[in-house]
């Protein structure tokens, strides 16, 4: 199996994206991964176009229609209306933008900070490693929601502050992951080979180690997306995230709380949206792990 073409004559020309095609093939083998990818695609679609496609854009912008409050689901309002007479479907569609973007922002910032800390700790080692990892442990000991609440309280509510607040409690997982991966990659023979060539440390880190730890980071990012969306919604739910009238899933859920169970539909739609987003990102992450797993590759 390992012995493919030995001499140049018998080789089949292969496009450079062969690896990608193989990965896609392996990905398609798993129905759950495909389902995850489809769900994520739908969620991302609404993230991009939800506001535009909403059937009642004026409700998204904050208009109220008190004559039609608490309409049960019907053809005109598939998910009913809320206490202000706003179309729930429109709010949920538009809410995707805020919720998913916030989740993505959290994961991205967390990854950047975590990768930096983890890579430096793992690569430099010694006291630097000790110091950085103890800092990481310290951050981990503080419950993330509480830390985020504290930061949000200090910075004041709002989209950006919320993202920053959650990110600051989000990076330790990445720092630990990256440190471990860097420690392992540092012992690879090709890294020794690079040292024997005379390559300097930054070249070794950026050219030889980091490109080879990207896969697990991507997998973790995907798996974390769902949880980040939940955390964002959680902050919204307790009222220190995005403020109404900007629609956001957690806030929507929080507002509908007082009208349960009589007007159940007001909670139903944002809850389901969150469920599907989290579900989709988790399935996608699992699928990505299967194809990007360094042991399965080779």
């Amino acid at each position: 199996m390992s012995e493919t073409a030995q001499t140049s004559e018998v080789e089949i020309p292969r496009p450079a994206d062969d690896r990608l095609r193989r990965a896609l093939f392996r990905f398609r083998q798993s129905k759950l991964s495909m389902l995850g990818a489809a769900v994520v695609a739908i969620v991302l679609f609404f993230t991009a176009f939800g506001t535009i496609l909403a059937p009642y854009p004026e409700h998204v912008a904050g208009a109220v229609d008190t004559a039609n409050r608490f309409q049960p689901p019907s053809l005109t309002h598939p998910f009913g209306t809320n206490e202000l007479g706003q179309d729930v479907l429109s709010l949920v569609m538009a809410g995707a933008t805020v919720s998913v973007l916030a989740g993505f922002g959290v994961v991205l910032i967390g990854t950047l900070i975590g990768t930096l800390v983890g890579a430096v700790a793992g690569f430099v080692g010694g006291w630097t490693d000790e110091g950085l990892m103890r800092l990481t442990d310290l951050t981990l000991t503080i419950p993330s929601l509480i830390l985020a609440m504290a930061i949000a309280a200090a910075l004041g509510p709002g989209f950006t502050n919320m993202v920053i607040a959650i990110s600051l409690s989000w990076w330790p997982g990445y720092a630990r992951l990256v440190r471990g991966e860097v420690l392992a990659a540092r012992e690879e023979v090709y890294v020794t080979a690079a040292r024997a060539i005379g390559a300097n440390p930054s070249r070794i880190l950026f050219r030889h180690i980091l490109p080879n730890v990207v896969s697990p980071i991507i997998v973790k990012m995907s798996l974390d997306m769902g949880f980040a969306i939940l955390t964002v919604a959680g902050l919204g739910f307790i009222g220190i995230g995005v403020r109404p009238p900007t629609p956001e899933w957690g806030t929507l859920l929080s507002l509908s709380r007082s009208y349960m169970p009589d007007y159940w539909w007001t909670a139903m739609a944002p809850g389901m949206a969150m469920f599907f987003a989290v579900f989709g990102f988790n399935l996608l992450g699992d699928g990505l792990r299967d194809i990007l797993d360094p042991k399965a590759r080779r």
Binding site: E3, T4, Q6, V10, R22
Partner: protein, 345 residues
């Protein structure tokens, strides 16, 4: 009617992957009798390991699929036995040794406990292993099993074997763990032992010791062995018979002395020529150009034809069938006589 210990008949196996279905075993015929050590040699990717794994039905299906053939173990087809029966054959009647020793020992039990468990399990079908009276108490049986375990460790060359029974796997080096696995495979006195590159990771001095032990076990207990290796030197010194595999076919088989002294198939000859010996002059080794063909679109005729220096048009037409070269020595090549002439010339 008595059956041979193992009789593989016309075994065909395909593997489905991204690129399509590869015909990885293309009609394997192999008969192993008690007392024989068969060496299975060939380049990597020729199907040696898959043949070995098929015998204990350890190839996962899918992606693999057996499209034809049977594997008769004492007359019963392993491929059509219920999974439970195959499970009970494994480890007791059919022993396996793999190349990688790190994954096959449970890290949380002492070496001795793991060996004793295997010995006791094996004793349930063959009580003579423990060498204690049939009415022995459980305690006595355990003690006998432990004695046997220590004895086996000693025989695979682990110094201070008795004391090391109480060690955990991590306290052993890689080479020693491999020896423990060999001891574990031999302790149940299987009737058939499949050893897949058992000594490749070991030092030559240890390798010599293990191979000697293997030969001794065959002589003492009259078992059959399939030794999968890429080292013709190991085959020459250990095996009674050899089957040379190429791209899913056995291209040549027979008694070791015959095959090694008078290789008939061009592939066997090429393999022999690429081993550095005492007499090879620097820079004079004859490597074999090219590589094992892509089995998804395998050439229709002889699979070795594209690399064979003696191939003619006819070679690419049909798959050559084994031809008797002498006694039980067979080779699958349509130009056996011609090649013989060319070599002598």
């Amino acid at each position: 009617m008595t059956y041979p210990l193992l009789d593989i008949r016309n075994l065909h196996l395909t593997m489905t992957s991204f690129d399509g279905a590869a015909h990885v075993l293309n009609g394997i015929d192999l008969t192993v009798n008690r007392g024989e050590i068969w060496g299975l040699v060939g380049e990597s990717g020729c199907g040696k390991s898959l043949t070995g794994l098929s015998i204990s039905r350890l190839v996962s299906t899918p992606p693999a699929r057996y499209i034809d053939g049977e594997i008769l173990f004492e007359g019963r087809d392993i491929l059509s036995l219920p999974a439970k029966e195959v499970q009970s054959l494994r480890g007791k009647r059919i022993g396996m040794i793999f190349q990688d020793p790190t994954t096959n020992l449970n890290p949380s039990y002492r070496i001795g406990e793991q060996l004793v468990d295997v010995a006791l399990a094996a004793a349930s079908h063959d009580a003579s292993i423990l060498d204690c009276p049939p009415n022995a108490s459980r305690r006595e049986r355990r003690r006998a099993a432990r004695r046997l375990a220590g004895d086996m460790l000693d025989r695979v060359g682990i110094p201070n074997a008795e004391a090391r029974l109480d060690n955990y796997p991590h306290e052993f080096s890689g080479g020693m763990r491999q020896r423990v696995l060999i001891a574990m495979a031999l302790i149940g006195r299987p009737d058939l032992l499949i050893a897949d590159e058992p000594t490749t990771a070991l030092d030559v001095s240890v390798q010599a010791q293990i191979l000697k032990l293997l030969k001794g076990t065959v002589a003492d207990h009259f078992i059959g062995v399939i030794l999968i290796t890429h080292n013709l030197g190991v085959v020459a010194e250990t095996c009674s018979h050899v089957a040379v595999m190429y791209a899913g076919n056995i291209v040549e088989s027979g008694p070791v002395a015959e095959v090694i002294e008078r290789p008939a198939h061009p592939y066997t000859k090429a393999l022999m020529a690429s081993i550095p010996t005492k007499h090879s002059k620097r820079g004079s080794l004859n490597g074999l150009g090219g590589s094992v063909p892509n089995l998804i679109s395998a050439p229709p005729g002889c699979r070795f034809a594209p690399r064979c220096s003696r191939a003619v048009e006819a070679c690419t037409q049909t798959l050559p069938q084994p031809v008797q070269v002498g006694g039980t020595h067979h080779a699958a090549c349509i130009r056996l006589n011609e090649t013989e002439d060319l070599v002598d010339a």
